[in-house]
Amino acid sequence: MAEIKLENVSKRYGDVAALDSANLTIEDGSFTSVFGPPSSGKSVLLRVLLGLEPVDGGRIAIDGKDVTDASPNERNLSMVFQNLALFPQLSAQENIVFPLKRRAAREEDINARLDQVSSVLSIAHILHKKPAALSGGERQRVAIGRALIRDASAYMMDEPIAALDARLRDVMRVELKRLQIEQGRTFIYVTHDCEEAMSVADRMAILEAGRIVQVGKPDDVYARPATLYVAKLVGSPGINVLEGEGNDGSIASVLGLVNGQTGERLERGQKVHVALRPEALQLGDPADAKLKGQISDVERLGGFSVITVNNGEAQVRAIASGDAPHRIGEHVGVTVDPAGLHLFNIEDGARIG
């Protein structure tokens, strides 16, 4: 168990800054997801934490002890890789106990740990099988078991369920979350899947080109994205972004005035990015709203529909109920719930207000 701290950690490959003064504190017993698009530095962050790569600057501490130059073994971190790396010739059980055997642990300790891990992961009945005879989900559990059997300071996972099909991913992410809550161990989880990053973790760290741009509870990140980049990355369907400017308390956008006192933080004429969550948009009579357009697409997805409203210059997508009676070509007005409206600087994308 340990608190892990990265202070101004940088890692360069030639001219590319894979990590750029990254700061992150991972609390003892927390479940932190590290989230970002491909090549934003997620896997590099794990590798420098594990000690697989030296850093070019900054400091890494585990429980207050500087481990920046320590070897992987001295850091006592456990890892589940994306490609599992199970030994095909060994049974599930032999794979799981391998890290303990290698450390020449006592037989009865090994058996006690094995019992505990296999009961937590519900894999006691498959321990005798070789990896080739296991399903994708079972193999994944074995790989996680092999990581958990060690008494490590923290457990790292790099896209551990990315290779599974959608239904199994939904099941596994909940199992991982439950496991972490029950055991109270420190988990660090790298993923490019936003829903997964939000679902499993109690804190998420978001990477942009090697920099950590926001750290917080998933719900807080969603409700108050720190930058336009974060707002666009988090949430599905994606957030709508319009150009707008302050207009005496309201906001003028290319689709018309956004309702309410939403622009009171702005100077008159101040240009901004106006970001609107699709679920915050309510469609109604065009006479009742200043933001308006024509429906150009209706996507009915069962439990909900995604409606695209277009005025020739810009468009927004709104979420409506699954049986919403909207039709393509219909003229509609859009009212905005201020809780789903975010303003960002036009130059640097920083949050306003």
Partner: protein
């Protein structure tokens, strides 16, 4: 444009039945998705329509004409595969023009249609680029454009979006819908992704274990699934399907009176022919509403775990021996360990036969 009809079409590989006596009637200009898990027979079905795969028995008709033994190149079908077969040494323009030139279309018409398609696919600025220089997303657009431009009588797409990232998939779904509205081609679209099938198709053919399970509009498939398989496969998170027992005016979960859920007479009528009181009770996670524990008509459950995923909270619940899910909006986030009251929207709930797993049909409501 053509209509497509499969009559008792079967495909067998040795002892393995890939497609079992499939009847499917696709109308002229219709967009049909064939949906199912891997190995269900959906790609084999499409390959038989294309003529890439022989049928073992049964008949395939285009516009009523028997094409069962017509070879692939004479069927007038266009394809887009998951791994776009693009000529990488050729420019975007030449790739788009290829099919029209083979057909011997006049130069002026080729140029005009290439420009139109490039504009439609937002590739106009890339027309002179080498295909090898395109991004994965652009390549897939080119693959779709190249097949669509020759306006085949039937347009077949096999998982065309599955290599693309999530945000781009959303965008491409909208573009494909636009393409189909503009070209009015008959489209058959194979996918394992229920969201794609729901969002794109006029009708969905759901397959499992080589057998067609249901063929209907997305709305009907979602609201009135034919059986437990379809009910679970459509919608995310999946429909809750719990063992229940029929009682007076409702069901009890796991046989406990404390978990009595009153149902409408309409829904109860579905159980009229059941021989035992055991039934499967199905309701979608989004059709549960949060209420005070013990309030009238509600049942009580304990919160096991909450996933907060943006605009919605996925709440994992346990009641008696039953585990199930609820989806609430951002405002409602009960805490793990808390006991909550739940109201089921019984107008949107279902009963299934526990043996056949078929949905039990309520009696038609009499008018007046």
């Amino acid at each position: 444009m053509s209509s497509v009809r499969l009559e008792a079409t079967t495909k067998q590989f040795g002892d393995f039945k890939a497609v079992q006596s499939m009847d499917l009637s696709i109308e002229n200009g219709e967009f049909v998705a064939i949906l199912g898990p891997s190995g269900c027979g959906k790609s084999t079905t499409m390959n038989m329509i294309a003529g890439i795969e022989d049928v073992t028995s049964g008949t395939i008709r285009f516009d009523g004409r028997d094409v069962t033994s017509v070879p692939v190149q004479k069927r007038g079908v266009g394809f887009v595969f998951q791994n776009y077969a693009i000529f990488t040494h050729m420019s975007v323009r030449d790739n788009l023009a290829f099919g029209l030139e083979i057909q011997g279309a006049p130069k002026a018409e080729v140029d005009k249609r290439v420009d139109e398609m490039a504009q439609f696919m937002a590739l106009s600025h890339r027309l002179d680029a080498k295909s090898s220089a395109l991004s994965v997303n652009e390549l897939q657009k080119l693959a779709i454009g190249r097949s669509a431009i020759v306006e085949p009588s039937i347009f077949l797409l096999d998982e065309p979006l599955s290599n693309l990232d999530a945000a781009f998939r959303e965008k491409m779904r909208a573009e494909l819908r636009g393409l189909q509205r503009a070209l009015k081609q008959t489209m058959v679209y194979v996918t394992h992704d229920q969201i794609e099938a729901m969002g794109l198709a006029d009708r969905i053919a759901v397959m499992n274990h080589a057998v067609l399970q249901q063929f209907d509009t997305p709305d009907v498939i979602y609201a009135e699934p034919a059986n437990v398989f379809v009910a679970r496969f459509i919608g995310a998170p999946s429909m809750n399907i719990l063992h229940a027992r029929i009682g007076e005016g409702g069901v009890t979960l796991g046989g406990r009176d404390a978990d009595f859920i009153p149902l409408s007479d309409h829904l109860m009528s579905a159980a009229r022919d059941l021989r035992s009181p055991d039934v499967l009770f199905g309701f979608r996670p989004e059709n549960l509403a949060l209420t005070e524990p013990e309030s009238p008509g509600s049942f009580t459950a304990e919160v096991v775990l909450v996933e907060t995923v943006g605009r919605r909270n996925i709440v994992h619940l346990v009641s008696g021996m039953s585990n199930f899910l609820a989806v609430f909006g951002r405002g409602a986030a009960p805490r793990a360990g808390e006991a909550i009251g739940l109201l089921v929207d019984t107008d949107r709930a279902h009963l299934f036969d526990p043996e056949t797993e078929e949905r039990l049909m309520p009696m038609e409501m009499s008018h007046g």
